[in-house]
């Protein structure tokens, strides 16, 4: 019994020491073992050449034209060309809230701005909002049967850039909410920034959202 307790004590103490090393900010020794076998001089030159080729390949995949970058956590939209920032705009992105679909016990809408890479698919001037079902349901209203009852003009600003699945970069009447996560997934901007984005972005311009 005494030996068992002693063994347990050693285990706990060694764990404690491991933890101390870890919390000191030093990588544990097992993190740097099992490295690839060293290469000879000729092999090193080949490796250098391969490395340079790969760096070039990766560079060629980077966008050469301006692209849109959206930071949904901090609610900013940037237009960048290479490392150069052409525009830094305060935006509003998805609220992350959920809404149950009536009559569907498992269905729900999640109001997130999608993450990933997209592209501008459409550029609209004076867009009209075709209100989806959730816009009525969240206000406790009946979903209209007529399409005409879904149309609402003047709420999306002067321009809208679609990037798929009903998501747009558009303007807003609620400029005081810019900088906050309040939308149903679209990206809102003030009028001036929206105009700049419309001017700089073409159909096909990449949109990176994280």
């Amino acid at each position: 019994m005494k030996r068992v307790l002693l063994s347990l004590w050693y285990v706990v103490m060694s764990l404690f020491l491991v933890t101390l090393v870890q919390s000191s900010g030093l990588p544990l020794s097992d993190a740097v073992t099992d490295q690839p076998a060293p290469v000879d001089r000729a092999g090193s030159q080949t490796l250098h050449a391969r490395y340079k080729t790969l760096v070039k390949q990766l560079t060629q995949l980077m966008p050469t034209q301006p692209y849109i970058l959206v930071d949904t956590a901090r609610n900013h939209l940037y237009i960048k060309r290479g490392d150069q920032v052409l525009l830094d705009a305060v935006a509003s992105t998805g609220s992350g809230t959920i809404l149950d679909k009536p009559g569907d016990s498992k269905g729900q809408w999640i109001f997130d701005t999608p993450r990933g890479e997209f592209a501008v698919q459409s550029r609209l001037t004076n867009p009209v909002w075709v209100k989806p079902d959730w816009a009525f349901i969240e206000e406790g209203l009946e979903v209209p049967k007529s399409q005409a009852d879904r149309l609402e003009s003047g709420v999306l600003g002067e321009y809208a850039l679609g990037f798929g699945k009903g998501y747009f970069i558009h303007g807003t009447l609620y400029t005081r909410l810019l900088g906050k996560n309040v939308t149903h997934g679209c990206i809102r901007l003030n009028d001036d920034d929206l105009k700049s984005v419309y001017r700089l972005a073409k159909v096909g311009t990449p949109i990176m959202i994280f």
Binding site: L15, V18, T19, Q22, S23, S24, G25, L26, P27, L28, D30, A31, V32, T33, D34, Q35, P36, P38, V39, G43, S44, L47, R50, Y51, L54, V55, Q57, L58, T59, L61, M62, P63, Y67, L69, D71, T72, A73, S95, G96, T97, I98, L99, D100, I110, R115, G116, E117, F118, A119, I137, E138, E139, G140, K180, N181, V182, P206, M208, I209, F210
Partner: protein, 182 residues
Amino acid sequence: MTDPVALQEATRVLEEEIKLAARPQTYVFIDLASNVILIKGRGVELHRIPIESWSASHPDQMMASYRLRERPPVSRRKIDPAAGAEQEPISLVDMPTTYTLLFSSSLRILVFSNTEGDPWQWTMQRGRAWWRRLTVWGNMLRTGDPTLSPPSLDLTVSHEHAQSLAWTVVEGMPFLIRRSTP
């Protein structure tokens, strides 16, 4: 780059990254050599998260790119149309600061936040790390096979950066790890 081992590792990672960057997607690049987590797309750095400390087990097995199985749990507010009042949106502060990321192939990443000045959090986080090690060692003792435990990585970042990473990652997102060399 003069160190041949570091060059080998950098080349391996570049080969993997080119595959990821060739597709329209964002991905996470964990660079243990530079102590940084990068959110990238098409090879471009979109966001940078400094790593304060890290440790890894079985880093030799961390060769592939990994797809995240599910994002850390987020407590979302539900809109109640009958209530009429608008629901508070979720924001960075709602994100967890300590969580585990699980992947489709066997890899486990534990993200811890810096607990400076908070002994309770420190104890909780270390407790989790101890428990994980105990279960790994228990499995090794039971089976006698050290390779049975999956590779794992513990990352410590600042409180805000832990939340930022939890916010950014989504289901199916690819992760790539560049290992440190001596």
